[in-house]
Subunit: 346 residues, 4 copies
Amino acid sequence: MSKKYRVGILGATGTVGQRFIQLLENHPQFEITALAASDRSAGKSFVEACAWKLSGGMPDSVKGITVQPIEPPLDCDIVFSSLPSSVARETEEAFARAGYPVISNSSSYRMDEDVPLLIAEINHKHTDLIEVQKQKRGFTTGFIVTNPNCAVISFAPPLAAMHRKFGVESVVVTTLQAISGAGYPGVPSLDITDNVVPYIAGEEPKVETEAQKILGQFVDGVIEKADFTVSAQCFRVHVIDGHTASVRVNLRNTATLEEIVEAMNNFPSLNLYSSPKKFIDVCDEPSRPQPRLDRDSGNGMTITVGRLFPDNIFDYRFVSLSHNTVRGAAGSAVLNAELLIDKKII
Amino acid sequence: MSKKYRVGILGATGTVGQRFIQLLENHPQFEITALAASDRSAGKSFVEACAWKLSGGMPDSVKGITVQPIEPPLDCDIVFSSLPSSVARETEEAFARAGYPVISNSSSYRMDEDVPLLIAEINHKHTDLIEVQKQKRGFTTGFIVTNPNCAVISFAPPLAAMHRKFGVESVVVTTLQAISGAGYPGVPSLDITDNVVPYIAGEEPKVETEAQKILGQFVDGVIEKADFTVSAQCFRVHVIDGHTASVRVNLRNTATLEEIVEAMNNFPSLNLYSSPKKFIDVCDEPSRPQPRLDRDSGNGMTITVGRLFPDNIFDYRFVSLSHNTVRGAAGSAVLNAELLIDKKII
Amino acid sequence: MSKKYRVGILGATGTVGQRFIQLLENHPQFEITALAASDRSAGKSFVEACAWKLSGGMPDSVKGITVQPIEPPLDCDIVFSSLPSSVARETEEAFARAGYPVISNSSSYRMDEDVPLLIAEINHKHTDLIEVQKQKRGFTTGFIVTNPNCAVISFAPPLAAMHRKFGVESVVVTTLQAISGAGYPGVPSLDITDNVVPYIAGEEPKVETEAQKILGQFVDGVIEKADFTVSAQCFRVHVIDGHTASVRVNLRNTATLEEIVEAMNNFPSLNLYSSPKKFIDVCDEPSRPQPRLDRDSGNGMTITVGRLFPDNIFDYRFVSLSHNTVRGAAGSAVLNAELLIDKKII
Amino acid sequence: MSKKYRVGILGATGTVGQRFIQLLENHPQFEITALAASDRSAGKSFVEACAWKLSGGMPDSVKGITVQPIEPPLDCDIVFSSLPSSVARETEEAFARAGYPVISNSSSYRMDEDVPLLIAEINHKHTDLIEVQKQKRGFTTGFIVTNPNCAVISFAPPLAAMHRKFGVESVVVTTLQAISGAGYPGVPSLDITDNVVPYIAGEEPKVETEAQKILGQFVDGVIEKADFTVSAQCFRVHVIDGHTASVRVNLRNTATLEEIVEAMNNFPSLNLYSSPKKFIDVCDEPSRPQPRLDRDSGNGMTITVGRLFPDNIFDYRFVSLSHNTVRGAAGSAVLNAELLIDKKII
């Protein structure tokens, strides 16, 4: 491994920002050289500015870095962004325009026609959209790529496996989402202890629209969205990390249970540093997947599927799980950056 | 208030047995005269035999009662039963044959053709089946009535409101069920802390079949089941009491959102001691119903519905909640007994 | 029951404010006529201003009340205050000076020499301090009384029982405190799920000083503090309501275990509306008290003590529990108001 | 690294047994060659016999191993034992007599005069007791060493640091213990959700006696126990892993806070595979240590200390934390085996 890319993190003190730092520690291709956060934090050392909330402690290498305001220039080659949507749109544009590849975990640009919404294993060809984007927006070296909403990632991979082979027609999904998805301080303990909350602001529309773009085809400079409908009900449950999706799906073509299991288990992973050995792991045990036991599978990058059965209204039902702050956020963004390097786009 | 019925409780030391005792304390129509439990407990005073797990403590009135074996005769007029299914079938038959009305919360007889499966507000006419049962089985004064599985009760009432007016065609339900539904010791804390379990043994088949019987018609001595299909995925979540159901439904006839809200809110309650003022309460707040805030509504006997919207695959979606050990177990059984008294069946 | 006192609540939308409203619903001596909260809420109806977080729902009677700014005059005879300490000092003084009896749950005035710090059963004679306070501060009809910190209340009653008979010399207490003690939004779920936090800002000094004032003697216009030392370590644990205290105590005079049990069990309760039948309840079961099972004892006003044994460093050890938002906050304040009425002070 | 010791695990399917397997995967000195568990499991493959409950999944290398009955002979050089005390005494003796070094995590032999109770960093010299044991019991190559109760380990290390320099006179400890300490199924979720349990069967006596042996001196073939008194109150709290101890301590000689911090931070670690870089880590942040954030420090082998202050009854107070199934169980046993290899005892 030759040179390391110098990385800046926008929103470094937040839940996902901390996960970025954790995943980039000892990463062979990246080194963190800049940390940016809100005005309140800017100017402090990172150890002073950040209330670290991940097990294992803050890496020593970032403790002394001085937090900077979230605006270009930053001393780095690439930025990873995990900004609240209120500021992400304007800020990420500014960085892209200033020449930085922006690998964003924010929702602002996900549904823009010229912005790739990537799950690297599924739609890496969508990176072709980057050239379209650069031309359209007048970017030079900079650009924006995004990864999907954390709830979408929990069921889009098994859907992709089915869609590729048999065509998905409709999807009913009920999500049981972890508290870390709301950031910090996020969900008050009085709201979630001994409780379930049947509402996550803005979530159901995202879950109902992003998968069609992810599973779409890049044709003539445009993503043609996949033609299926999603119905989503989203719940917050008392889990720290790991989003669970309860899914029913109708297919366009018939498929046996065995064919579906095979399509999922054999969905190709990539040969990148953060790729898990298995992208989708279909387990047999009747009581799996479970967030606490399965979220860390493949270092948090494997999607675990279980309880895959014929359904009595839809064709099939299953339960799908992913780690929402790794595969569902920082981990997917890092994988996207590895993909872009591999494709020599950065 | 004239005479009080003398009540025996089968399975008195269990989670639901304790809830029976709590609900019957100070009840104007019933007094507990017999408590029966497994051989391990029989012969001890109730206070010695029972590890009380409900807030508020064991009522003084039952502390000194000697626990008896679970077999007739018992010194009482009626028995409430909450037995594990392994023993319920034989034992409840024995009590019915010995002349006791058996108000059962067990699953053993729910789907027997000649046994009413009652939600008092919805299908009280099914009590006519009792005569059929007595003749068929050769019972004299005894008989068996049942109440539904606790998960079914969480969504059958709003379904009934829709079905009665607009005809239900198909239902997709995902349940988020409380730990108290598994009894005591029940769910190990290592299984549910920071976790969700996508499996409850035997639950999905029950949820997929009971509602059709409940919403059926009593015609010519038989329950004609309602003609709709249910798809169920059942999860255990980290909630003490209160089952939440995420529901999509297709109707046979068109209905506006307002008509559905009205059908639910105006579904008649009964004028019995344990009836709530409102049987179904449709709430507006976007983040409700929530188990901790809504399960005790109507003393645990009201079904709370929220997030009722048009769906983009089905006609409508909603979230429904009931208290699983009150409305979903002991409370429904007590209400059933009140109904039978009101109808002069006991 | 003759006239009802008209009550205003300062900080009505908060956790303790909501508990005040719940406890005053149907209270024979009080009716709520004014609700005051921060500027953000003022002017809205209470149902709009308040995110109700207690089981059972907001009482209909307060829904339509318009929230007012927290300043005199308010349309009421008495105010209950549950304000953050940052504003309590100035605001409560303003109300007292304007003629209102202020029954405060805030910490601001607890340790002022001329302000009673009341646990009604223990030191009701300290109400004599009110006259001293009025003269010193130039109040006319208004005055301020306080109740102790919620953690102190969890162990001060058994301490009082011992102190009165045998003299307390030193106390080592470790508290395990509920999340509701931090208000709403209060403790982030990411901080307390699968966790314990060994720090509550400002708590240990309060726990180490308030008990000596409570158990002190009113002599010549002054409270002579009880002469013992308290060492406190305070933890936040994952419990919704109910503070548990782990206590060791040295006595000045010898006492048998039986004498101590008797002193606690027989500590007189009062004959007021909110008084529990038993003020202190010593339980025998080896695994009690437990917050979930015992906090509601005596409608949340009984202190439950267990695991009372001789210690091998101190004279005795025990575990003590109280409901932190009832006995530890709103309930004690309401009881204080009942006491003041009974003594014809208001 | 030359040859690997072949290891058998007694009680392999339990919570601690699973942790042994996890810690020994990829260990440079050990390879698992035998797994033994109760009759119910014996004869099955491990993957069939064991309900794996640790994050990350069962290592492939053990899945196919056939579980054997818990009796010698087993195909291995050393046994790690994590048996329930009911069977540990007889079984471990049988293995020792049959020639196996028994590295036990069970409580049965901890307080036997001729059995070392080891925390490798603190009292590695106690391994000299092994020869005494062999002679007394007529063992040839076999022997038994033990590690302390998981709650004791959470505070014995900082105590050792103080004792060595300043002499400990008395200790008051209140423990807040994790649910994993009770094994599986262990603590019912209904007992610990929204709750604290002030009782762990048999725990307080262990916590009050083991530290004196650990900090004792090996003199003339005997451990002379350290001369201090411990008072313990033990609570179960809603934490998955990580025991927290709230401690006050009196010293025989005066010591400044700085001297104590230095004594702890500089307590030497060992140069063994499982030794953490820091044995005791004193942290400054006011709200630490916390189980979720600090239990994995040093791969679960570091003891984290915080809130170290002068106390107003004792000399000092502090809060101490260790991972109860790693440092408090399997990890300490593995470290003990590494120590014995290093000392050429095995």
